[in-house]
Symmetry: C2
Subunit: 455 residues, 2 copies
């Protein structure tokens, strides 16, 4: 039970800085990359295993509540609406409105603060005792966007000693992510009696009682989406996180990924998510590759060039499945597994097409032997890394030039380059040879490392 | 320190039931499958992380000690000889001879009791406190070999309440594997004063003081190698353990493995171990496959048959690397990794050879396309399982007919069968098709499983 406390989401405020006028949707329903802010908060919590939500509504409540039925079903979570008539008197009143529902630990988050599921997991793990409430704080104060508007805190010995927007002496920033116990409500009531209806007011009183502790955010991401500028920044940062600097090969990092991220962003922004599933994107990119591979069979400069371009487009869009999945909380092991298989079959198709095309003009068995040579190199370069991961219980260190030379993005790009220069088959052979050398190099590297470890 | 206590090995006795006469080597130096009994005991302990040994010698001590220098270097362990002039008065005196060297926890084992490294690891894990000594007991009393001669124990509430060879009421058997603290020596001295020089005498006194606890052996293997008959049995059981019923495919289980185990046993018994390393065997089996693959190129019934047989021999000996490694405590992640790569390259070579051979008599590109089809199936069947293991954090359940249909042993056997019937290429295509179907089937199975889990 405690490992999955319910979550209270405060979504009653007006958020006038982000959405002026009635024409725009209310703040919790503003979309970033295909999902509303409120959905992103729900799904981040769900990513940490949480399934029970109390959402406090006030301003334009009817519009917002309308969506809960759909979300509850789609995301398999339980959502309870808590209406706060008193929302204009500060967000403390919204938290207080949930008190009848909560008798044990609960999480408290804002509808306009985005964060990683790991933040919630960490908060739950660290905030074990029931003697204090916990707030996640960001110590990277210099990097905080819009520090003028941020709620500043002073942390001493793991406790919050002061909190407030205008605080002069501060060493961290309140991320608006809390783990609370029902005694928070007493503090809120007391603050209200003294004329302060804000959540910070209640927190300040807990801090005075030394019942407010801090949990460090570390390097995780959180974003306060308060203004149109912050919204744009959120979009940019969410996209930026899709780039996997560690894992991506040369071509992927500098060419494929920048394009695929933009394409993914457009996809999730403009298409209904149900219609663009990650697995469908995997499949579409696979078919592009198959089509390109088939075109290679006909040979000739123009057709080969078109084939190479198709394959490269397939290689670019191949990044989109994972990106769309991560942007919309739809990653799955099955999807990742399926995608790698498509990648390998696609590689086999390209080798076959290019070899066949070349053989038609140079009908000697050596052409086929070369094709088999390249294909074996491609498939075994991938295979060897997987085997390493299994035997050694850790991914193969994807660093250094050689690790990047035996990646798929480069293989496909080399075939395109070959098509541009008129020699796709020879470029295929060359990159096949590089793959075999890369495999040998991997083994040599591990063999050497093994010696130094055991001696 | 405590996680790796030193080990005392009692090797002072005469062991006359196993080695009568001076012509035979003394008991600790009797070999089973390439290693002496004493080496097996040392290596089992080393497998549990232990590096410090006190070996008590008495009967024919000079002969035995002569080997320690070599073993210490070869196995990277520290061996201290403890000489017990008094060995004829019972094995308790041998244990007592170590008392000057030991001031904290230590393990105590017999030179003629073989066991798995896991037994030691379990004993160390369970025997945490310093208030009692621990003995590993085997509760499968009905299965114990030579129960007449075994040291019987009565276990009550986790403690030894009685111990002795002739015990009438007993519910377990002493395996001769102990975790002790120096107070054992007091008990041994007391027993000796009362005229009992055996280890059991000391243990009996500890049991009376309720300071002797039992750790359950569970399903692990231990063997008391006391007589020529027990020696034969040890050899048989060590060989039997090489069969991996769960992992082996059809052909491997019923044909390859029985042959390879016998061959491995001969290898380790008759060849110096330094000259037969597991990696060398991997390499030799790989070359047999390469040679077979090359022979297929020439085509013709007789040559193809020879080629198929060579490949099958390669497939059989391919089991020997792991078997020899396990029999002689030389398993390594690197070796396992290298072996799988050889397997895949060998598969590619066979496909190439068979396709080339068929193409020479039927020169159409379809032959090569078929070859690429089969090769892709072979390599991706293996690849898919590895990817599954990585994504799902567990090996693919290797059960059911389909899992066994896409294993290497069957592929190579099918090529041999094809060669026998005169159609190696078509059998290659068939088993290639089975591989692709098997991949599809794996995905379908997981996809279905996924649905039931999430819904």
């Amino acid at each position: 039970m405690y490992a999955r406390p319910p979550v209270v989401i405060l979504a009653a405020g007006r958020g006038e800085r982000l959405c002026e006028g009635e024409k725009k949707p209310p703040k919790p329903l503003i979309s970033v990359l295909g999902l509303t802010l409120l959905e992103r908060v729900i799904l981040s919590c769900k990513g940490a295993g949480i399934e029970e939500f109390f959402i406090v509504l006030g301003y334009r409540e009817a519009e917002i509540e309308l969506r809960f039925l759909e979300w509850g079903k789609k995301y398999k979570v339980s959502i309870t609406t808590v209406k706060n008539q008193d929302w204009k008197n500060g967000n403390g009143t919204s938290a207080l409105a949930c008190s009848p529902f909560l008798s044990s630990a609960f999480l408290l988050v804002m509808c306009d603060h985005l964060f990683d599921p790991q933040v919630i997991a960490q908060l739950i793990a660290e905030g074990k005792d029931g003697e204090a409430c916990y707030v996640v704080v960001d110590r990277r104060t210099e990097q905080v966007f819009d520090i003028e508007d941020a709620t500043r805190v002073q942390v001493q010995d793991g406790r919050i000693s002061a909190i407030g927007k205008g605080l002069e002496a501060y060493n961290a920033v309140d991320t608006g992510i809390f783990l609370c116990w029902p005694f928070l409500f007493d503090a809120l009531r007391q603050a209200q009696l003294e004329g302060d209806g804000t959540l910070s007011g209640g927190i300040r009183r807990l801090a005075k009682q030394k019942r407010m502790k801090a949990v460090d955010l570390g390097e995780h991401l959180w974003l306060d989406v308060d203004t149109p500028k912050a919204l744009k920044r959120a979009r940019r940062l969410l996209m930026k996180r899709l780039v996997k600097t560690d894992e991506d090969g040369f071509i992927s990092q500098w060419f494929n990924r920048p394009l695929s991220v933009r394409f993914s962003a457009q996809l999730v922004t403009h298409c209904p998510l149900e219609q663009v599933t990650p697995n469908m994107i995997s499949l579409a990119s696979f078919f592009l590759i198959l089509l390109g591979a088939f075109l290679f069979v006909f040979g000739g400069y123009a057709v080969s060039l078109a084939a190479g371009i198709l394959c490269q487009i397939g290689s670019i869009t191949d990044g989109c499945d994972g990106e769309v999945a991560r942007l919309t909380f739809r990653t799955s092991r099955f999807g990742a597994w399926l995608d790698t298989l498509f990648d390998r079959y696609g590689g086999a198709a390209i080798v076959t097409g290019v070899s066949y095309g070349f053989w038609r003009f140079h009908p000697t068995p050596w052409v086929w032997l070369g094709g088999i040579f390249a294909l074996t190199g491609f498939l075994l370069a991938s295979y060897t890394k997987k085997e390493y991961a299994i035997r050694y219980g850790e991914g193969f260190p994807n660093k250094g030039v050689w690790a990047k030379l035996i990646k798929r993005d480069l293989r496909i790009f080399m075939v395109l380059l070959g098509a541009i220069l008129g020699y796709p088959y020879f470029f295929l052979l060359a990159i096949g040879a590089v793959s075999h050398l890369g495999i040998g190099r991997l083994f040599w590297q591990v063999y050497k490392g093994r010696q130094t470890v055991t001696r």
